[in-house]
């Protein structure tokens, strides 16, 4: 640049000299004869002047272009920049560039604000989507969102589980390619085409091991042009509800049967008494006795039902204490000895000479032992034997109690159901009366309230052995011990 400037300056000076000589020569025209050398000198001088002027013009233009280019680069890089110094004939161009600069800066500021706004919105939308997906993900209901082309936009894990597909790999895939239940696919398509807002339909999902009864709720979502953009399908599996309704219905039916039976006796005998059909005092006393016994039976039944119901609802209070099973078994034997004596049944105790303490509610555990021993006496023929055993299992850290009899035994088909509510072995109903709730109550007390186990082993015609275990200490007390051992 510097060289160029020097050359330009030199050329300019040379041109000036030649031009001066030319002027002198022209001014002397008329006095001196103009020869060929003069004309040559003049031509060279003029040529040099034109060349020098062109050179200077180019250099100036280059300099201005460079300044403008630098300015434009800074504008492009959004760097603050003052207007470069330019020749006067370029001022209007530079003012125009300055206005462009201001406009560009204003727009850039606007766009920056918009971009920032969009970034915030995107982050909020991402957070909302993540939150919605985590909520939908933990829902028990199956949720499928499909777009206007019946492609899956979102499906939660429950949907994958219910309809047997990989929910994580279902996005952007055609619904029909992912979901085998053609009826459901048709339902979703129909809802989208009909654009019918919210629909609720009973739907049976076929194709699995067994049909699943569901309630399908389908709703359409519209975009800004009022076109259906997606269909949200929620499937609620009704299997559990129906099972519960069935269980409730069975419970009410069985409870009603058990309540009506003693109530029938009470009503019939009371009516006889009211109608004066008890001829003598002995008959009246007999009727009173039956009414009393049947009323007590009703009372026991209601008590058992309420106890089981309260345990199941988790509202029963358990008074935990150290329970001495040796004393508890002695007390139960003492209570039931008269009942056993009536049938000439002998009751034996086989208690291991070890510590037989466990943590539990003494009254409840007493009730369990009494129920099991009473059952053993009821279903053992005259002259039989009932043995109560107790031992402690230090490995499992529990007390193990069993009641064995030489009675009828439980038929193999009934073993698994013997602890169910109201379950009674049909053919034994004549042998002894019962509510069908005693063993269920025992199971609730042992397993639900004490964290133990209950079960039976039986050989038909030879006898049964009902057993239960109760932990020696509470779960919360065992944890520190376990930690200590681990340490």
């Amino acid at each position: 640049m510097k060289t160029l400037l020097t050359m330009a300056l030199g050329s300019f000076l040379l041109a000036v000299v030649i031009a001066v000589m030319a002027v002198l020569m022209v001014s002397g025209w008329g006095r001196l004869p103009i020869d060929r050398a003069d004309w040559t000198m003049l031509a060279v001088g003029l040529g040099a002047s034109v060349w020098a002027l062109l050179l200077v013009g180019c250099l100036l233009t280059a300099r201005v272009c460079e300044a403008v280019s630098t300015y434009a680069d800074r504008l492009g890089a959004s760097e603050p920049s003052a207007l470069p110094r330019t020749p006067i004939w370029m001022r209007s161009l530079m003012r125009a560039l300055s206005r462009v600069q201001q406009t560009v800066q204003q727009r850039e500021s606007t766009w920056r604000t918009r971009v920032r706004d969009l970034e915030i919105r995107e982050r909020i939308a991402d957070a909302d989507r993540a939150r919605a997906e985590s909520v939908l993900g933990v829902m028990r209901e199956a949720v499928i969102v499909t777009n206007a082309f019946d492609e899956i936009v979102y499906a939660n894990e429950a949907a994958g589980h219910l309809l047997k597909f990989d929910a994580g790999d279902s996005a952007r895939r055609a619904l029909g390619d992912v979901v085998a239940d053609t009826g459901l696919c048709r339902l979703i398509s129909e809802t989208r085409e009909a654009s019918c807002g919210l629909r609720q339909i009973d739907h049976v999902i076929e194709g699995g091991d067994e049909p699943v009864c569901c309630v399908a709720m389908l709703s359409t979502l519209k975009d800004s042009t009022d076109e259906v953009s997606s269909v949200v399908t929620v499937l609620h599996d009704m299997t559990r509800e129906r099972e519960i309704a069935q269980l409730k219905s069975e419970f009410v039916s069985k409870a009603s049967h058990e309540l009506r039976t003693p109530l029938s006796s009470v009503q019939a005998y009371v009516e006889m008494l009211v109608d004066g059909e008890a001829d003598d005092e002995a008959s009246r006393q007999e009727f009173y006795g039956i009414i009393q016994a049947e009323t007590e039976r009703l009372s026991r039944l209601v008590d058992n039902m309420l106890n089981i119901s309260r345990i199941e609802a988790g509202i029963v209070r358990v008074d935990r204490d150290a329970v001495d099973f040796e004393g508890l078994i002695d007390r139960a034997v003492q209570t039931l000895e008269p009942q056993a004596r009536e049938k000439r049944i002998s009751i034996h105790r086989e208690l291991a000479p070890v510590d037989l303490h466990a943590v539990g509610d003494v009254d409840m555990l007493y009730q369990v032992v009494v129920n099991l021993v009473s059952n053993a006496i009821k279903y053992t023929p005259e002259g039989g034997r009932v043995t109560i055993s107790a031992d402690s299992d230090h490995l499992e850290r529990c007390v193990h109690v069993s009641v064995a009899d030489t009675g009828l035994g439980v038929p193999p088909d009934d073993v698994d159901r013997i602890f169910e509510k109201f379950y009674r072995i049909e053919n034994y109903k004549r042998v002894a009366k019962g509510t069908g709730l005693g063993l269920n109550l025992c199971r609730q007390i042992i397993e639900t309230l004490h964290g133990g186990q209950i079960g039976l082993e039986s050989r038909l015609g030879l006898g049964s052995r009902f057993w239960f275990t109760v932990p020696m200490s509470l779960e919360s007390e065992r944890e520190p011990e376990a930690k200590a051992v681990a340490a």
């Binding site: 049967h257 019939a268 004549r430």
Partner: protein
């Protein structure tokens, strides 16, 4: 000659009270403690009417009616079913044998006796009409 009534129930108190009530009303009463025994007694004694519980060991009341319906000697014997199961009997069950009435427990023995009398009178009228 008084009518002979068979009462079948596994609840001894119900058997007892119905026996007393029916005997006081002048009927001859025979009893059975379950469905199977009821069938044997019905076949052996040819009762004029049977009152049976629905849910019993060995054989239910409906099974008893089915068995009675399959035998010429007992097919026409009217049956009253006692049930503590409310609506446990289906229309199909009610069409089995000669079930004439279903009585829900708890029941009034007084009303049951009236029912027995009315069924026996209706049966007697039908027999007379056939004889004529």
């Amino acid at each position: 000659m008084s009518a002979r009534i068979l009462v079948v129930d596994d609840e001894s108190h119900i058997l007892h009270v119905l026996t007393l009530k029916l005997q006081k009303a002048g009927y001859e009463v025979i009893t059975a403690g379950d469905g199977e025994e009821g069938l044997h007694v019905a076949l052996a004694e040819s009762p004029d009417l049977i009152i049976t519980d629905l849910q019993m060991p060995y054989m239910t009341g409906v099974d008893l009616c089915r068995a009675l319906a399959g035998r010429p000697g007992t097919a026409a014997v009217p049956v009253i079913i006692l049930t503590a199961r409310g609506y446990a009997l289906s229309e199909e069950d009610l069409g089995i044998g000669n079930i004439r009435e279903v009585v829900s427990k708890p029941f009034s023995p007084r009303l049951l006796i009236q029912m027995v009398q009315s069924l026996l009178e209706a049966g007697s009228t039908t027999r007379k009409a056939k004889a004529a």
